[in-house]
Subunit: 255 residues, 2 copies
Amino acid sequence: MDRLTIIKVGGKVVEEPESLNALLDQFDHISGNKLLVHGGGRTATEVAKKLGIETKMVEGRRITDADMLEVVTMVYGGLVNKRIVAGLQSRGMNAIGLTGADLDLIKAHKRPVKDIDYGFVGDVDDVNPAELRLLINENVVPVIAPLTHDGKGHLLNTNADTIASELASELSNYYSVYLFYCFEKRGVLVDPDDESSVIYDLDLALFNQYKNEGVISDGMIPKLENGFRAKMKGVKEILITNPENIATGRGTRLV
Amino acid sequence: MDRLTIIKVGGKVVEEPESLNALLDQFDHISGNKLLVHGGGRTATEVAKKLGIETKMVEGRRITDADMLEVVTMVYGGLVNKRIVAGLQSRGMNAIGLTGADLDLIKAHKRPVKDIDYGFVGDVDDVNPAELRLLINENVVPVIAPLTHDGKGHLLNTNADTIASELASELSNYYSVYLFYCFEKRGVLVDPDDESSVIYDLDLALFNQYKNEGVISDGMIPKLENGFRAKMKGVKEILITNPENIATGRGTRLV
């Protein structure tokens, strides 16, 4: 099977012009098929604030009422996505920006209300990569915004890590998929203040131990849970690292 | 050659939920290949206002400074585009939302400053429909936002009527193209207050006469000039009408 590299980037990396340019330069050096999944939460929070819309987060996840859905549709689907597309085009990569609604790529349902009402947040049901594969096979580089749809005309906000792992899992049926979660740090750290404390090989037992000990916490937990799920579904390699180490392959490897 | 219907919609039609739904229902009834080009100026003005950004228009065209470029990227590329895509998907059409940056579809250059500095407004240089045709031939329905790019990493704001006529002209090399400009009225009117005064057949001589007499004025002039240019480049039929008359084919026909 052909290799497909999926890069997920979130946080400051994708939202500040300088680090975004550095990322796109790194991305340019990846050979073969590639696909980028991005976040944009900081910009969404900023735009929401300017529009007088309050951002509410629960356990690192955004509560998405109707107004906030408009904001993330604008920011993820428009501003952040199209900036990346234009930046890739300028580097000679034939990028296309997509949400889960485009090409019916990712169908989801609105998360049922239990303790918390997350609002218009989507849990993924189905990835339909038929036309996406057609594009990838034409050397097109898909750039995916973290939005899905319910097939009934509604867009939904879906976590970008989840989008990346769902796409990686489904596309493992057709490609040898290498999934990189990129963020500011060099990997999962034992000591968050010490960049040299990267955990290089992380298996499920060690993950559970670190989780219980509180070494791994907060947003890193769902990211890693997503990663291990994707690993079990056939994704060839999963690495958590910073953009500088896409080329070296150094960082935390899920094993 | 296969038939391709291109519908350009702007104004209130595309920006109010009820009229948008009516439009998408009409659009659903078009058989064969189809493509939608949309505007979104009212929403852009509204969002800009909420963000404290003043909208300046010259001869119906938006002055697009850096802040306004962010707004139109969010509103055209994100909010309006993805709402339409989700709405078409819910009706069983496999829509994909695109700007001119996606797939390198429409390259433009920043309009040179003469009397007026329009800012980040793009004049079209080149339409590259290779991957677009691939998608159309797979029964995908492209939904095009009025944004272009300069190939150097910059997005540009480009009039939606122009986008529609440029796409129609280029695609006439591959399809028998029917181009509909849809807006609130039943066609070009001799008396703007009388919906029954539709000019059914409009040729260039009559257009110039009406233009000189002031019967046709304002935004209708560039729309018609775009239309006549597209007609001369091989677009099979060009009609100016409202969404209700897409099916009947009644309205102002450029001959």
